[in-house]
Subunit: 376 residues, 2 copies
């Protein structure tokens, strides 16, 4: 929570929840990444928060951008970044979207199979490709599924195929899992990457780049290591596996860049119990899974919640959203301690909500509007 | 799949997935509900699909409407339904939204606790309220959480409180679980309702109405009983528990009214394997959890998927959406049989997608636009 956000909210008198994002925090975060990994280029993961003000600031600071779609590419170009600062990082692309990206001047693409390489060879001839490898993600609060990437022993063949089709077999990428709290988790994937570099070099293909992915955490309720600890651990792992031939590296922070810059203000709509015997209160907010807090699914992300009654006695509560949808419950398996004095009409502040909130909002589920967003 | 939808899609040549909804099917569904439960008023659950054409049609057919928010109330009024055909069925309402609904002429409200009764007494004096009771939902493909409703023994007190505050203690409601495939599941909740009617009558409060809720299924992969079987089972349960003093009843079909009227056309973006040893193909579509198919969460709803290769040999596949989000996987725990001949660029038709698809869409997650919707 920053003074600027507090001031902004004090002057606001609209109805409904909103997310306020403080650009000063984003500037600090960018600077921390740049300092922690001085030889690594930062590709901001636009999907975390594509607000034009965020993209404008990062473009001015010299950031590069990891994009998931042609719309995101166009948002980044509109912010003034040149196409050589853009990676089309989605491994799942329509061939006509690759052609559109290519027409915009984008020349760096993610792949994880030969079929995707073939699309790129046709639609963006000569482009650079990096192959994503699977990585187990232990230690992450949100380990990723196997959706993206291929087995390391397949990656060599994918990149050879790219080389054969006239593309630049540029490098590798992996992702150690979202909200990764263990800085040493890059080690295993870098070991696998170094082996692929070596293997391909022997076959005459000189890879140049390792995309270290995202996974850099935001502080929610638990403390997380500082960015410089990630920088140190990653540099050590690079030295260990690549010796004095460290490749070009890039990182793709999203949550780590904007998560702690944003805060949601919401309102308590109802507080009730289900029966006389029920010990547990239900606290219903005007924000839920469908208008901003999608990342509470399976209670994965546990946001810090501040109230005007902090310091009063607390009780465990079930917290739910405002829709008529029974899955719109935020915290129930592990109830949340909130002040007993919290009442209908009270405001609550939900911290660490700068990433993966606004764009996850449903267009109008139950008639509730998408989450309002203010960038200050 | 109807001929009208097939014709429409044949003439469409835009990029991106879309949902097409055939109003003729909605008309048939309305008529089936009206015939199956001739003494029951139909309150269409607007949240299932609030497309203006759907609301217009149902308003003309004489339907009433179950709404979740003031926006939905205004959508129904715009469709030409009078406010006495609207229920504000969300048990979680801001007091100022109750006042707005009251100002629009709405006078029927859901409650499940005394605090909500007090808001209504202040903001909509004299209104009718019904109290939602908890109900265990066994037999439903999507049993509901405990989010809505109170224990039956608390409901009497909630309604007495309403009576004392000058509201009309009008009745009870419950919900037997979404996609409820057992028509006998209304029996237990009606037994509990009859007991509360009796108890309150002894205390001088004559309840008049039982809101039988929704839960009426759409046919996905498994067959479901016909609406007339639900009508028969519900009527029998009403007779059994209320004898010859059957109260006024209403139902709130949403999925059952529009689910089978809609179909999504999508495209295969990528087909790949993760390793040489991997038996399982991954099929990536241009639609996923964030642009329409939110109800695949936990693989709850298993949609029928048609392809131009139906009849060819099939293989189990993991099906995933197009975003860079690792949770955007539709069917993995229980892989889906799809034709081996399905390839990149193939179209697929996803049936039973008229309900809970368009409005669940994210505003622009990963830059992907919300699901397009056509009502024909």
């Amino acid at each position: 929570m920053t003074d600027r956000i507090v001031d902004f909210l004090r002057r606001r008198n609209e109805d409904g929840p909103c997310m306020v994002l403080d650009l000063d925090v984003v500037r600090d975060n960018y600077s921390s990444f740049a300092k922690a990994l001085p030889d690594t280029r930062v590709f901001y993961a636009v999907k975390a928060n594509p607000a034009p003000e965020v993209l404008d600031l990062l473009a001015r600071l010299g950031s590069c951008f990891d994009t998931a779609s042609v719309v995101e590419i166009e948002q980044v170009l509109a912010a003034g970044a040149a196409p050589d600062r853009i990676s089309f990082g989605n491994t799942i692309k329509k061939e006509r979207d690759i052609a559109r990206a290519h027409a915009h001047g984008v020349s760096l693409f993610a792949v994880d199979c030969e079929a995707e390489v073939e699309k790129i060879a046709r639609a963006a001839p000569g482009a650079k490709v990096f192959c994503r490898i699977l990585c187990d993600g232990s230690g992450a609060e949100w380990p990723l599924s196997r959706k993206f990437g291929c087995a390391p022993d397949m990656a060599g063949r994918v990149l050879e195929h790219a080389h054969r089709l006239g593309l630049v077999a540029y490098g590798l990428s992996f992702h150690v899992g979202s909200q990764q709290r263990n800085p040493r988790m890059w080690d295993g994937a870098l070991a696998a990457s170094a082996a692929i570099f070596k293997d391909l070099a022997e076959r005459g293909i000189a890879l140049q780049m390792v995309n270290l992915g995202g996974g850099f955490p935001t502080k929610y309720l638990k403390n997380v290591p500082a960015v410089r600890q990630y920088g140190k651990a990653i540099f050590e792992a690079l030295r260990k596996h690549f010796g004095n031939r460290i490749p070009e590296t890039i990182i793709e922070p999203g949550r780590g860049m904007v998560g702690n810059a944003g805060m949601i203000e919401a309102e308590v709509v109802l507080v009730s119990k289900k029966s006389d015997e029920d010990r547990m209160r239900w606290v219903y907010l005007d924000i839920g899974k469908f208008n901003g807090l999608a990342e509470t699914m399976d209670e994965m992300i546990r946001y810090p919640i501040r109230t005007e009654f902090d310091g009063d006695a607390t009780e465990p509560c079930i917290i739910a959203g405002p829709t008529c949808d029974s899955v719109d419950v935020l915290y129930e398996k592990e109830p949340y301690e909130l002040p007993v004095s919290l009442a209908i009409g009270s405001k609550v502040l939900i911290e660490g909500t700068g990433a993966y909130t606004t764009t996850y909002s449903a267009v109008g589920f139950n008639g509730f509007p998408p989450l309002k967003s203010y960038v200050i």
